[in-house]
Subunit: 236 residues, 2 copies
Amino acid sequence: MPVTAAAAEPPVEPAWRQRAVERSTRAAKLRAEQRVQRFLESAQELIAEKGTTDFTVQEIVDRSKQSLRSFYQHFDGKHELLLALFEDALATSAAEIREASAAESDPVEALRVAVELLFRQSHPDPGVQRPLFSDFALQLLVKHPAQVATAHLPILMIFSDLIEQATEAGAVVPGKPRRQANLVMQTIMFAAQANGVPADSHASPVTAEEVWQFCLNGISTASTAAPAKASASKKR
Amino acid sequence: MPVTAAAAEPPVEPAWRQRAVERSTRAAKLRAEQRVQRFLESAQELIAEKGTTDFTVQEIVDRSKQSLRSFYQHFDGKHELLLALFEDALATSAAEIREASAAESDPVEALRVAVELLFRQSHPDPGVQRPLFSDFALQLLVKHPAQVATAHLPILMIFSDLIEQATEAGAVVPGKPRRQANLVMQTIMFAAQANGVPADSHASPVTAEEVWQFCLNGISTASTAAPAKASASKKR
DNA sequence: CCTGCGATGAGAATAGCCTTCTCTTCAGAT
DNA sequence: ATCTGAAGAGAAGGCTATTCTCATCGCAGG
């Protein structure tokens, strides 16, 4: 078994060689990225058109005028492609939320704006489907929770920040912003998702306003430290 | 085209014939139910063993010592079977919750018990997997929300009742119990589900206690009617 | 110009599933 | 005893993702 040559040996590796290789490589990398981009765009078109992530790999390939061979050269599989789109969508979403909430001076208002915007974004709107937020996100939640957590991170951070600011402003009692943000985020996203469709007639969908009130109250006194030996009811 | 004979004609339909047919039928129905039962039990065993709903129909068939032919005679497909198990599981869950909470005299305590029990039940425990609550439930949520709503109904009722009682006891301010119950239920179930696995190391799972506090506060002042022109922050 | 190599295209082949179909067999009702 | 409908056995169909084969193509180095 020979010693690993290309692992970590800058001293014996002539710099010119590296540069040469790098130059050779750059062009190829660019082409590859363009191909990847075409796959991604085709996939997004299909999602927009079919309102589902149930298209076939073949469809992506056909639409992007490329080949299966190439697809699997660039992606580990359909799953990886969807994951890429998913993270992208959430990052975009996060950016929008951050921007919208930054426009508010009052911390509580900022939080409210963020909550309502996220609610709308997560809502299965008739007209503009967002299968990446429903379809795929839930699948992912079961099979690869860690990836979901990663993808949620940007949004989580925003809410964490907003809650912290609201706390500092004295609008809500101190708690653990990160954990509170977690609960708030999940409540919003799932409530929007689960109540998006009429389902049974006797249950009208939950509104953004309701979710907002629920969450605001929810974090207003979230005591987490107390061991609470079932004596929670008589605290204070 | 002959007139429909067996549709709805009690007057011309001799009673003895009905009884005769009924008698003929009963035995067959029993046998059918036994077969269905065997399928269901085999499926549950598989779920318990594999911790997933990803078993094949063939496996169910083999284990139950029956045939594919028979399986599709009794179920519309794998989906229907899972749905049956799902509803059953939730109904059982509901019964447990109702029983546990009924043991508490204080309405708030009763609600707390219910929340924590549902949380535990929805939690992907290492050891006792409950794929019906995660795996399948989420799939269903995307494709057949109405069926999920139906299956959730029993549990929803319980929480609705509990909240109402707590309200009457003056423990929480009046709101819309049904809608509040909806939010509470979803928050609990999804929080348990999403935070069951470690995911990323920097985020320790949410605890039952946290969820309880969050929900209790959440419904403690859920004003839904007021247009709330951002004046919410200065309540009381 | 030529040559070799890695990336592509085109599409066949593989594999895993659910679901349906055909052909028998069998149990129970009349 | 016969007839009918349910059930067993297993092949066949259909749909996908994924892999494999072979022919091309673009391009950097000789």
